[in-house]
Structures are given as structure tokens and as C-alpha cells.
């Protein structure tokens, strides 16, 4: 932890959820600011300058996606949206608007903390470009463009490398199907999920211990893929 603990802004209209999140985050060493409405959130964002915002998409006073766009403005803070279960499209829209990740209510607090860590790490890391990403037995060298599994070099096709390096640049964070397709195949192939599925399957064959029970590259149904951060 740096000298001053990272500051997290919790935006939720339900007091119980704010209480739970505050307790969880405080215990994990973060300092917490609360907001119950969109308006309060925007004020707190500019005054308290949090490092990360946890935003519930179902606020009474403002449209959740509109708030995502507003909260992404400078100064930059990591942004994790919290949404109900059946709002896959909203999750994807929020990610497209620049949210770093999402958690689904009801959430496991351990998982929430993992997401917070991953998002904050990415934010710090993007200031000083990371070179080596380690995931389980896999070592990915983003500058050398090489992948090792337990010391042995793994050979990837150019598309596989593009996908893996994109995931590795954001370890622990979900990347939407379309974002991955755009990066690896170009904007014309957005929506052609089958390309992505087949390439991910090939990557798993080369990287996973049991490719039919992947632990490194996992899918979020209907949303995207995530490289599980160590």
C-alpha cells in the first residue's frame, strides 16, 4: 500500500449496501467516501478525487450509463459498475463506455475486492507500462512478445498473441467480446463471436492444464473474457 490508502467512492442508494461495502473496503485498507445519488456522486468525484468509483447502475435520479460517461471524465478514476443479474446488455454498454469492470448483485465481497485490486493495479500500471505478466504457470512478456509455460516457450499464432497480450494488459479485468474482436480482427468483424471462441479454445489448448476446465482464461456469459489475475 502507498502512504495514503487508495480512496474509493461508493455510489449506491441503498444504505445497507453502502454499509456493507464501506465495512468490506475499510477492512481491506481503503478509505471510503459514500454517495447516495448521481448528483452526490458527481460532487464527491470532483471534491474527493477518488482513485476508484463503485457505481450502482440503478440510481433513482440519474441514468446509470449517463453517469458512467460523466464519471469517466477527468480526473481519471477507475470505475466498476454494480448491476442486477439480468442486465447483460447494460453491463456491456457500461464497459463500452469505459467502465473498467462490473460486479453483479448479489456479489461475493471477496470477488468484489479482487475486481477493485485489478482495476486499481491497472490504473497504476498504465502509468508505468508493465512488461511481465504472470498468470499461474504462464509468463507473458509483453515487450519481448513471448509466452512461457513453466519455463518452456509456447508458440502462438499472431491472432492468438494479439488476444492474449490484450487480456494480459488488463489482468483480472473483463474485456468484452467486441473489444477483443476489434483488436484482433478489426472493426469489420465485431459481432463474429465464433472467431473469438475458436481462437480462445486454441489458446486454452496451449496454455491451460485441462483445456476443457479452463482456469486462466474464463468467460463471462454474454459479456466477454477475463484473464484470471494471480
Amino acid at each position: 500500500m502507498p502512504a495514503s490508502p487508495p480512496k474509493v467512492l461508493v455510489v449506491d442508494d441503498e444504505p445497507q449496501i453502502r454499509t456493507l461495502l464501506k465495512a468490506t473496503l475499510s477492512r481491506a485498507g481503503y478509505s471510503v467516501v459514500e454517495a447516495a445519488t448521481g448528483r452526490e456522486a458527481l460532487t464527491a468525484k470532483s471534491i474527493d478525487k477518488p482513485d476508484l468509483v463503485l457505481l450502482d447502475l440503478g440510481l433513482p435520479d440519474r441514468d446509470g450509463l449517463e453517469l458512467v460517461a460523466l464519471l469517466r471524465q477527468e480526473p481519471r478514476a477507475a470505475l466498476i459498475v454494480v448491476s442486477a443479474r439480468d442486465q447483460t446488455e447494460q453491463k456491456v454498454a457500461a464497459l463500452d463506455l469505459g467502465a473498467d469492470d462490473y460486479v453483479t448483485k448479489p456479489f461475493d465481497t471477496e470477488e468484489l475486492l479482487a475486481r477493485v485490486r485489478a482495476s486499481l493495479r491497472h490504473r497504476l500500471a498504465s502509468e508505468a507500462e508493465r512488461q511481465i505478466v504472470e498468470v499461474g504457470p504462464i509468463t507473458i512478456d509483453l515487450l519481448e512478445r513471448s509466452v512461457r509455460r513453466g519455463g518452456d516457450e509456447v508458440h502462438l499464432t499472431p491472432k492468438e498473441w494479439t488476444l492474449l497480450s490484450e487480456l494480459a494488459k488488463h489482468p483480472g479485468r473483463v474485456l468484452t467480446h467486441d473489444a477483443l474482436l476489434r483488436t484482433a480482427w478489426g472493426p469489420a468483424h465485431v459481432g463474429q463471436t465464433e472467431y473469438l471462441r475458436v481462437a480462445i479454445r486454441a489458446l486454452r489448448q496451449k496454455l491451460e492444464e485441462t483445456p476443457s476446465q479452463p482456469r486462466l482464461i474464463v468467460n463471462e456469459p454474454g459479456v466477454g473474457y477475463r484473464l484470471i489475475a494471480k
Partner: protein, 509 residues
């Protein structure tokens, strides 16, 4: 139906032909007589004319028959009675012969005309019955008021060569159907329609009531009153139906009335059945809610109270809270899903899906309930991708795993398998529970409605959702028992049409 508007010119030609024919037959008879007379005398000759007169009477009726009789009398008189080649008659028998020929012509033609008229009536009757039966048959295949009205209008248009419309409702008659579409009624037409609907009498053009209207309206009547009015109009303004055809119109409209009454009755009974089904569903849901919400809540409240009293951190009690809360959340999800299915609000968003992803995601969500070590995964290598909605599939699998965990008892193994065979991709969840009652197919029937009472809490709901979601995606749900060993197997079968061909995903490298 015969053409009812034959041009009069045509019938004149027919008449001339008939008279010419009659005269021609007499001429032929005369030639025969001229051949006979020199050999056997004139006595048989008067008989020679009888067939000609009879034939003319039978074939063409009174006029041509009389013409034939007259021509025969003249020819007989001229050629065969003495003095020959004059029209004078000396013998009484010759006069009698001529008179007899004329009487035969008269009587025979009357008889023949009567028979022909009866035949014509019978044919017209048969045609009318066929028309009515045809309409009745076509109306039988219609189930809604709109279909019936449209069929009736098409039939009326074809029969009477006019525009047709069916209207109903007072005081503002509205159009149920119109052929051709887009016909507009003038205010006086609407007044005529309203008058017919009120009085049950025809109104509009060609009737004594509201003559300025362009349309003529006839009542469509059931035993309970006038339920609609059929409007007819020709573009040239001629009344489309003549008086002879009024009984046909009335009969046709009776069929329409019967069909409309039947459709109404059916719609009502469908509504009643749907209402009853909904009531059944609601009461099943209510009892299920009572049980499935209270049981985990009891666990949570009890465990929380215990923890507070003893201030302890008993891991078993904490696990109870977590696990029961998970059940509650799944149950509420299922209730919401069920509500969405019931409301027809399930939106399909399919994409090529790797079943490996689906299984991993479902097991991750179910980890608090089933743990890691209870579940074995068996997914074939190079399983084809399937076209599916990842969210719906996720909930299907969660419900199937939940169902397996419920029935297997604590710690018993659950097997999740995926394979391709016989052009299908199958995803199955197997448990070691007591298996399904009776055969699998019967058990599957229970999916379609919530029959939760005989199952452990909420399972009916979960399986009903699995079935509804699977069918929405075009996949099938199969339920069976293990051969020999204990346990049930629930399978989602993706047919060939949902399997993504390898070539479609070829450009992935």
C-alpha cells in the same frame, strides 16, 4: 355457380338456331316422306312428322315446337294431300292429321318445358347449396372474427362481382373486413349500415330504405339478434344482387352468422381456459413461494440469532447463512425468470457459444452450493460451438445443477458432460439421486406447468424454466433415468440447425 349475367344477344342467337333447327327437321322428314310415298303410299307419312315435332318440343320448347308443327302441317298438306302441290285439303283425315300434329307439338313442348324448368331449378338449387356449403367449409377453417369476415367478403365478391364489406357495432359501425381493402363508406352508407344493424332489414342502394347510399347492406343475424351487416356495392352503381338471389344472400349470411357466433364462443372458452390455467399457476406459485422463501429464511434467521447470542464465529452457522441466502437468490431469480416467460418477455440474443465456457461459468456460480469436488466435468475435445443465448443457457445449466444437488443428497457426485453424436450436441447433468418417477417422458410433461407440490421445494419451477428457455433457443430437454444405477440424467439437446459449422469459424487463427 352459373353465369347469372348472360348477355341477351346470346339468347337471341340461340332462339334463331332453335327455330331453324325445327324447320330443318321438318324438311328432313318431308324428304323421307317423299321417298316413302311413291313406294308405300301417303298413309305412313303423317307419322314421319311426329318425331320432328316431338324432338323440337323436347329440345327447344313451345315456340320451335309450334313452328315445327305448323311447318309439318304445311309440308304434309303441300306434298302429300290431294290435290298435291297445293295447300287445299279435300279429305277430313288430312285435316285431323294437321290438327293432331299441332296438338302434339303443344302438349309435348309443355311437358318438356316443365321438365326442363324442374331440372333448371334443381341445378340452381344444387349450385346454391354447393355455394353455401363451400362458404360454410371455408368459414370452418377460420378461427378469428377477422378471418371469418375476410373470407365472407372474398366469397361475396367472387359470387356477386362486387365490392364487399362486413361491418359491426352500434352506434358507429366499424369495418371488420373489406375486399378489396381500403373501401371507404360515405355518411349515408354508414347510416344504411347502422339502419340494417338496428332493424335487421336490408338498407341502402336498391332497397326502399336510404336509397342514396352507394352500398346495400344485408343483416347477418344469429338467434340473439343482428351481429353484423354485409355491405355490397358495384363500381358502376348497379345493385349487385337481384331479387332471385336474395334467398342465396340470406343463406350465405346465415353461415357467416353461425361462424361468428362459433368464433366468439371459442374465444370465450379459450379465455376461460387461460384464466383457469393462470389461476392454477398462481396458486401453485403461491404455495411454492411460501415454502421456498420460508425454508432458507428460517435457516438464515435461526443461524444469525444463534451467532448473535453466542457472539461466536461458528463456521457451520456462517456457511448456513451463506448457502441459504444463495438459495433464496436463485429462487428469486427463478421467480423473475418465470414471470418473464409468463409475460412472453424472454428476448433471445444468440451467438456461437463454447459449452466449455458455459459449464465453467455455471459451476463458478454454483460453487457455494455444490463445492468443487462434487462435480466431475466430462467435455469432449473439439466439441462444435452451438448457437445459443449465453444467459439463458447459463440459467438452464444452473437450474439443472441445482436440481441434481437437491436430489443427490449432500456430497453425492454430479456429472456434467457434453458431447456430439448423431448430428446433435448434448449437454447433460447426471445425479445419483433416486431418479425420476415412472419414465422420463412422463416426468418431462410435468415441466410445462408448476407442479411443485410433489417435488422438493422449487424444483418444478427450475425445470419449467429450463424447458421454457431451452425451447426458446430451439433446443430440447430430455429427462431419463440411469440404466441400472440410481440417478437421473437431464439433457439439453442442440439439434443440427443450432450447431455452428467448423468452416464458419475457420478464419480464427
Amino acid at each position: 355457380m352459373a353465369d347469372m349475367h348472360s348477355p341477351s344477344q346470346h339468347s337471341i342467337v340461340v332462339r334463331i338456331e332453335a327455330y331453324a333447327g325445327a324447320v330443318a327437321m321438318v324438311a328432313v322428314s318431308t324428304l323421307v316422306g317423299l321417298w316413302i310415298a311413291p313406294r308405300w303410299g301417303t298413309a305412313p307419312v303423317d307419322m314421319i312428322y311426329l318425331p320432328a315435332v316431338l324432338a323440337a318440343a323436347a329440345l327447344w320448347g313451345l315456340g320451335p315446337a309450334l313452328a315445327a308443327g305448323l311447318a309439318a302441317a304445311l309440308a304434309y298438306n303441300f306434298f302429300f294431300t290431294t290435290p298435291v302441290h297445293t295447300f287445299r285439303m279435300d279429305r277430313v283425315t288430312d285435316v285431323v292429321t294437321v290438327i293432331v300434329l299441332l296438338i302434339v307439338a303443344l302438349v309435348t313442348s309443355k311437358l318438356a318445358a316443365g321438365i326442363r324448368e324442374q331440372a333448371r331449378l334443381a341445378a340452381a338449387h344444387a349450385a346454391r347449396n354447393a355455394t353455401i356449403a363451400g362458404l360454410a367449409g371455408r368459414l370452418l377453417s377460420c378461427s378469428t372474427e377477422e378471418e371469418i369476415a375476410r373470407t365472407a367478403c372474398e366469397e361475396l365478391r367472387a359470387l356477386f362481382h362486387c365490392n364487399a364489406m362486413l361491418v359491426a357495432g352500434l352506434p358507429e359501425p366499424r369495418s371488420l373486413a373489406a375486399v378489396p381493402e381500403g373501401n371507404r363508406l360515405t355518411p349515408s352508407d354508414i347510416a344504411a349500415a347502422a339502419l340494417t344493424l338496428q332493424s335487421g332489414e336490408p338498407a341502402g342502394r336498391g332497397t326502399p330504405r336510404l336509397q342514396p347510399a352507394e352500398w346495400v347492406f344485408y343483416p347477418v343475424q344469429s338467434s340473439s339478434g343482428v351481429i353484423a351487416a354485409a355491405g355490397l356495392a358495384r363500381d358502376d352503381g348497379v345493385p349487385p344482387v337481384n331479387d332471385d338471389q336474395l334467398p342465396l344472400v340470406a343463406n350465405l349470411l346465415d353461415q357467416v352468422a353461425l361462424a361468428l357466433v362459433r368464433a366468439n364462443a371459442e374465444a370465450e372458452s379459450r379465455d376461460v381456459a387461460a384464466l383457469r390455467e393462470r389461476d392454477h399457476l398462481r396458486s401453485a406459485l403461491l404455495s411454492s413461494v411460501g415454502h421456498d422463501l420460508r425454508t432458507p429464511l428460517t435457516g438464515i434467521i435461526g443461524a444469525a440469532a444463534e451467532l448473535r447470542r453466542h457472539g461466536g464465529e461458528d463456521p457451520a452457522l456462517l456457511a448456513t447463512v451463506e448457502c441459504e441466502a444463495g438459495k433464496l437468490e436463485r429462487y428469486i431469480s427463478n421467480l423473475l425468470d418465470m414471470a418473464r416467460i409468463e409475460a412472453g418477455a424472454v428476448k433471445l440474443k444468440t451467438e456461437p457459444v463454447d459449452l466449455v465456457d458455459v459449464v465453467v461459468a455455471a459451476l463458478k456460480d454454483m460453487r457455494p452450493t455444490v463445492g468443487d469436488d462434487r462435480v466431475t466435468i466430462d467435455i469432449a475435445d473439439n466439441l462444435p460451438l452451438v448457437q445459443a443465448d449465453p444467459q439463458l443457457l447459463h440459467h438452464c445449466l444452473i437450474n439443472l445443477i441445482d436440481n441434481a444437488a437437491r436430489y443427490s443428497g449432500a456430497g453425492a457426485a454430479i456429472r456434467v458432460a457434453a458431447s456430439a453424436a448423431r448430428g446433435e450436441v448434448r449437454l447433460s447433468v447426471e445425479d445419483e439421486g433416486p431418479g425420476l418417477p415412472q419414465d422420463g417422458e412422463r416426468a418431462l410433461d410435468a415441466f410445462s406447468r408448476i407442479s411443485g407440490s410433489d417435488r422438493k421445494g422449487g424444483a418444478g419451477l427450475g425445470l419449467a424454466i429450463v424447458k421454457a428457455f431451452a425451447e426458446a433457443m430451439g433446443a430440447k430437454v430430455l429427462a431419463a433415468n440411469h440404466d441400472g444405477a440410481a440417478g437421473a440424467i437431464f439433457t439439453l439437446a442442440f439439434p443440427k440447425a443450432l450447431i455452428v459449422k467448423a468452416s464458419e469459424a475457420a478464419d480464427a487463427g
